[in-house]
């Protein structure tokens, strides 16, 4: 094992000499995520504030003056504007107005006769301001409908309560913490997988196919170090760099999200919810699952790297692995997969499921242990295959 540790030391020493790679591996993520999150939140909150702070511009065609008065009664929400010249749809797309309302020309008479009033609404579903205007109008209409219905009931001498047959009371059982847990649990496995694989891949290629390409592998093999230890040393390097990359990226994201939640006008429950999720046990159990999974990925990279003639070939061979990891990640984010009875027994995917359940207060000890044991066995098996296959001259001397 001492030889493997010496190889690991060599790899990290080599990495430490390359400041640019060090920067992009460990420092860049710490800068990148806070900057991206800050910009996104800034832009998002500015846009939302701008939308909610001003009234929606409504183009109203209402010859019988049914809706004009209620709309003008709420100047903070609506601004009735004249119809823009030209095509109304284009005016909506050009954001000259947010909503166009066309009321039945005979509307007032119909209301008086207790008939149904028709209102045609034109809006742009792709525009957030237009959707907000529609929501505001639906709210206004709901309130106005109650007034009209209660007036009709009054004319008939019936109780105004007839207009409100049900009073709905909702109590949220999960809370913000559970909501956030499910959200994080669905994308955390995906992030972990992609960061571990992508973070380790280039370093793995440099340490394997790169050694062949630079003509240094023979000098390493000619030392007294047993080959198995050289291979295990390389494996440890790829594995540890994958774990470190994932941790640095996650740490940066967690800090960015935490800062965002703390500084933004977030729901108070969101702050306590995030704090409730980051328990040492949940994080520790997640890390425990990452270890064999990272080892599995490291073996895959090692196999592809040493079998290749050069870095280009290794890169070509290993890049499709990213798509496989993305697929696994997307699958693990799919809604309802936790209900699939066979999923706890599918390697790699059961890791996603276990992490997902850890964060959604549905942790199942048996399923967690199955995922851990299966991934450990798989990683062990892959390590055995790697050390056997890569010990072959056909792999080491393939140039």
């Amino acid at each position: 094992m001492n030889g493997a540790l010496l190889i690991l030391k060599k790899e990290y020493l080599e990495l430490s000499k390359d400041r640019r790679t060090l920067f992009f591996t460990f420092v860049m993520p710490l800068i990148l995520y806070p900057v991206i999150f800050f910009m996104m939140s800034r832009l998002g909150s500015q846009d939302a504030a701008a939308r909610s702070g001003r009234p929606s511009r409504v183009c109203l065609t209402d010859p019988s003056q049914v809706l004009g008065q209620p709309l003008r009664a709420e100047p903070k929400l609506f601004q009735v504007v004249p119809r823009p010249p030209g095509d109304l749809r284009q005016a909506l797309r050009d954001q000259k107005v947010e909503l166009s309302l066309e009321v039945d020309p005979d509307g007032a008479a119909k209301l008086a006769r207790s008939e149904t009033l028709a209102v045609k609404v034109l809006y742009d579903d792709s525009d957030e301001s237009s959707k907000l205007a529609l929501d505001r109008f639906k709210g206004l209409l709901g309130r106005q409908e109650t007034v009209w219905v209660q007036a009709r009931l009054g004319r008939l001498g019936a109780s105004p309560q007839l207009a409100v047959p049900v009073k709905l009371e909702t109590v949220e059982a999960g809370g913000m913490s559970l909501f956030l847990g499910k959200l994080i649990g669905s994308f955390l496995p995906y992030l972990l997988m992609i960061m571990m694989y992508a973070g380790a891949m280039q370093h793995g290629i440099y340490a394997t196919a790169g050694e062949k390409e630079r003509g240094t592998l023979l000098s390493l093999l000619s030392t007294r170090l047993p080959r198995t230890q050289i291979i295990i040393g390389k494996l440890l390097y790829i594995f540890s760099i994958g774990i470190l990359s994932a941790l640095v990226n996650l740490l940066s994201m967690a800090l960015s999200v935490g800062r965002l939640v703390a500084t933004a006008d977030a729901h108070p429950a969101a702050v306590t919810g995030v704090a409730a999720l980051a328990t040492p046990s949940a994080l520790g159990l997640t890390f425990l699952l990452m270890v064999p999974l990272g080892l599995f990925f490291a073996n895959f990279i090692l196999l592809g790297g040493i079998q290749a003639r050069n870095t280009l070939e290794a890169s070509t061979a290993l890049t499709p692995g990213i798509f496989v990891v993305v697929f696994l990640g997307v699958f693990s984010m799919a809604p309802g997969i936790e209900k699939l009875a066979w999923l706890p027994y599918v390697p790699v995917l059961n890791v996603s499921l276990a992490i997902r359940k850890l964060f959604s207060q549905q942790a199942n000890g048996f399923e967690y242990l199955v995922a851990l044991a299966m991934t450990l066995v798989l990683a062990g098996l892959m390590t055995w295959i790697s050390t056997r296959m890569l010990n072959r001259e056909s792999a080491l001397f393939r140039v």
Binding site: K9, K10, L13, K17, G215, T216, S219, R224
Partner: protein, 250 residues
């Protein structure tokens, strides 16, 4: 010190056109012995089997058949032990360019089981002998071929090996660097080490080799002092021996 007995090595190669696999016998039935204080030259054209033979002696490759002993250690059964006795220099001029020679030698000393400080001391001594002390703390990124070769030689000799195997040590070097290498080989001979070198450079063979073996098509042709080989083939230079072998094959 080095004993090869009936060495065979075959490679499977894939024909790019027909995609059929075929066997190439890189080494067939090579037997030779090299004693302490002797420089043995392995000559032969490209692809003749020189490097494969040297890699097998250095414990990097396993023969399909035959036996190799280095200082009495079987390289197939005890490859790590054998490699500890051998200083091997390959044809690749690759060095870990992010390191300085001092860092590289320190690290490789540890790989060879030396204490880091001892390795560094030995490494600096070798760099001095190779006239590279001024560059001991310079990153090797911009090193010339000759400078890289000198660092590689220091790396190969760091653990004070009793057997030295240099695969084409002067290829691509300027005359001054080549002379430094040849002088070093003479020193190693004087120190009683067994040295095997492969080369294309005939004057080098005639200048330093005690015995030569010519590898052609994987087989060893002649195993004698250079003058004896010339006399046996009735030619004036070793180049002509190659030509005669090529004619005989045709």
């Amino acid at each position: 010190m080095i004993r090869l007995e009936d060495l065979h090595k075959t490679f499977l190669v894939k024909d790019k056109r027909t995609h059929a696999q075929r066997r190439i016998e890189a080494v067939r039935g090579i037997s030779l012995e090299v004693g302490p204080g002797e420089i043995y030259g392995l000559l032969g054209p490209n692809g003749a089997g020189k490097s494969t033979t040297l890699r097998m002696i250095a414990g990097l490759m396993r023969p399909d058949r035959g036996r190799i002993e280095v200082c009495g250690v079987d390289t197939v059964r005890r490859p790590e032990e054998a490699r500890a006795l051998v200083g091997y220099l390959s044809t690749d001029l690759g060095v870990y360019s992010r390191f300085t020679p001092r860092e590289l030698l320190r690290l490789f000393g540890e790989f060879q089981g030396l204490d880091a400080r001892v390795a560094e001391r030995r490494g600096m001594h070798l760099l001095e002998e190779l006239d590279l002390m001024d560059f001991a703390d310079v990153r090797m990124e911009g090193f010339s071929g000759g400078q890289k070769q000198k660092v590689s030689i220091a790396r190969a000799l760091l653990h004070d090996p009793r057997v030295v195997i240099f695969d084409e040590p002067t290829t691509g070097l300027d005359v001054l660097t080549a002379k430094t290498v040849l002088d070093l080989l003479r020193v190693m001979k004087a120190e009683g080490r067994a040295v095997v070198v492969s080369t294309h450079v005939m004057p080098m063979v005639e200048a330093i080799c005690d015995r030569v073996g010519i590898i052609f098509d994987g087989g060893l042709h002649g195993d004698a002092p250079p003058r004896e080989i010339l006399a046996r083939w009735g030619v004036g230079s070793l180049d002509e021996v190659f030509f005669k072998l090529a004619e005989a094959r045709a």
